[in-house]
């Protein structure tokens, strides 16, 4: 019997840094935790006595609540720290905040930050676990993991699937994490966006590129629709919302030309009528709500694994 893979990373910073086997371990572990969430008593004592701090520099309700519930279902104590940062205001540095949290003897910091690389920088300076809940444009590993978990649940596998990601690829950490995760597990990824929203070198990351939505949907087994972040449009470079919907919006007409059973995914929150038609968001092929449910199980698995790695570090 092959030696079972052992998780030994105290942090989860991105899917770029994980092997195929490590990603599969998280997904398999999440399976067991999903079972916990279907019980009447949705709690297991694994993180009893441990403290998880949600350090969110960007406003977020869904991700934060998801992590909070995941931690609580593992019986951990949860602290939420929400800060507003502007590039002008220079308050306590991220490193200092992290060190203070460490001094409070917390065990895991779940950090969301508006600057790419923030999670990695924090992880370098503290000995406790750091879980990346989204850093700038860089990665949002738990989102991609729950996307992949959902796909795997629905379609039974990832290898050989055609998955298209539609939206603002250039500025999307969800896109990057998904590209890493899906390609490592053997899926074929296509990204679709207006040219100005395709970042340089994305083909070398393993994704095919097109700006034709019909082409992207044609053979796709699943489509992951990203939120158009108009509020992040710094240079007014984005097409107008109506234009975007016309050219890239996922509508029932568009889907009629795609595979009958194509899975529709979206990281949320949805902009109905901008990147996705209302009817599509609510159609039977849409797994958007299941993604939310699976998010808890995936995050429970992640918190469990990093906590265990750190415990093992301290005894060996």
């Amino acid at each position: 019997m092959a030696e079972e893979l052992v998780w030994n990373k105290k942090d989860l910073l991105g899917l770029e840094y994980l092997s195929k086997e490590e990603i599969e371990l998280i997904l398999n572990t999440a399976d067991s935790f999903k079972e916990v969430t279907t019980r009447e008593i949705k709690k297991v004592p694994v993180l009893r006595g441990k403290t998880v701090v949600n350090l969110f520099y960007e406003p977020s309700t869904r991700t934060r609540v998801s992590f909070e519930l995941a931690a609580k279902r593992l019986s951990a104590d949860v602290i939420n720290i929400a800060t507003e940062t502007s590039s002008v205001k220079k308050g306590e540095t991220l490193i200092d905040t992290g060190k203070n949290i460490e001094a409070l003897k917390a065990d895991i910091i779940v950090v969301r930050h508006n600057y790419s690389g923030a999670a990695m920088m924090l992880a370098r300076h503290v000995a406790i676990s750091v879980v990346n809940a989204g850093d700038g444009w860089h990665e949002h590993p738990t989102q991609a993991l729950l996307d992949i978990f959902t796909l795997r649940e629905k379609l039974g596998k990832i290898a050989g699937l055609n998955v298209s990601i539609v939206g603002d690829i250039a500025h999307s950490r969800v896109a990057r994490s998904n590209i890493w995760g899906l390609t490592k597990l053997g899926a074929k990824v296509t990204v679709c966006a207006p040219e100005m929203l395709i970042p340089p070198g994305i083909e070398q990351m393993g994704a095919a590129v097109t700006d034709d939505i019909d082409e992207a949907l044609k053979d796709a087994d699943a489509v992951n629709v990203l939120r158009m972040q108009f509020e992040r449009d710094e240079q007014n470079a984005f097409p107008r919302q109506v234009e975007y919907f016309k050219k890239f919006g996922i509508t029932e007409d568009r889907l009629a030309k795609a595979k009958k059973d194509i899975i529709i995914m979206h990281p949320g929150p949805i902009n109905r009528g901008i990147e996705i038609a209302s009817e599509v968001a609510d159609c039977p092929q849409s797994v958007i709500l299941e993604q939310v449910t699976n998010g808890i199980a995936v995050r429970m698995a992640v918190l469990f694994l990093v906590s265990q790695a750190r415990d093992n570090e301290t005894i060996t």
């Binding site: 052992v6 572990t29 399976d31 067991s32 935790f33 079972e35 008593i41 297991v44 004592p45 265990q308």
Partner: protein
């Protein structure tokens, strides 16, 4: 963590295991006055195999099926960090309601009692059973918690540097119970 193990003695062979299980099956039915409200829950891994065998035995005797569930106690262990390296979490699969049932927990070897304590916690989170009973193939003593089995295949006094290994055909290719000594 690799320890060199030396097989010291064979305690039970295939026949002995079979006879013990037949006896336990009868004892379970006697104590619970039949199979009404009875269910078996095996603790991963070999407890599950034993539970399946007991269920088969019972259904032959009563001509009715008794439900079997699988319990993974990894998330409830108290010595999580002290067992070999990295425990892997598997699924608990109990497809029936245990509330108001007589649950017979089944494991291969009873030692410190900590596994059973974790199993009790897990079962309590899953429902409110009427009774929880414990059936083990081997009781090797050295209890660290106040846990006692209701049904025992064989009592084997052991030294602390010894280990009892239960091998079952479905998992290990053959049926036997052996004592091994930890070397070094």
């Amino acid at each position: 963590m690799f320890l060199l193990m030396k097989e010291k003695a064979k305690i039970m062979d295939e026949e002995a295991i079979s006879r013990a299980l037949i006896r336990i099956a009868h004892e379970i039915l006697e104590r619970n006055k039949g199979i009404k409200d009875l269910c078996l829950v095996g603790i991963r891994n070999r407890g599950v195999t034993l539970a399946n065998r007991l269920a088969e035995r019972i259904s032959k005797i009563e001509d009715k099926k008794v439900p079997v569930g699988i319990l993974d106690i990894t998330l409830y262990r108290d010595d999580l960090t002290l067992i070999a390296a990295h425990p892997v979490v598997h699924k608990t699969e109990i497809g029936f309601d245990i509330t108001d049932k007589n649950v017979v927990l089944i494991d291969d070897v009873l030692y410190s009692g900590r596994t059973i304590r974790a199993a009790l916690d897990a079962l309590m989170d899953l429902g409110r059973p009427k009774t929880i009973q414990l059936a083990v193939l081997i009781d090797r003593g050295h209890r660290e918690l106040p846990v006692r089995p209701d049904y025992v295949g064989k009592n084997i006094p052991t030294a602390k540097n010894e280990m009892v290994e239960v091998h079952l055909a479905e998992v290990d290719g053959k049926d036997e119970v052996v004592i091994v000594e930890k070397d070094g």
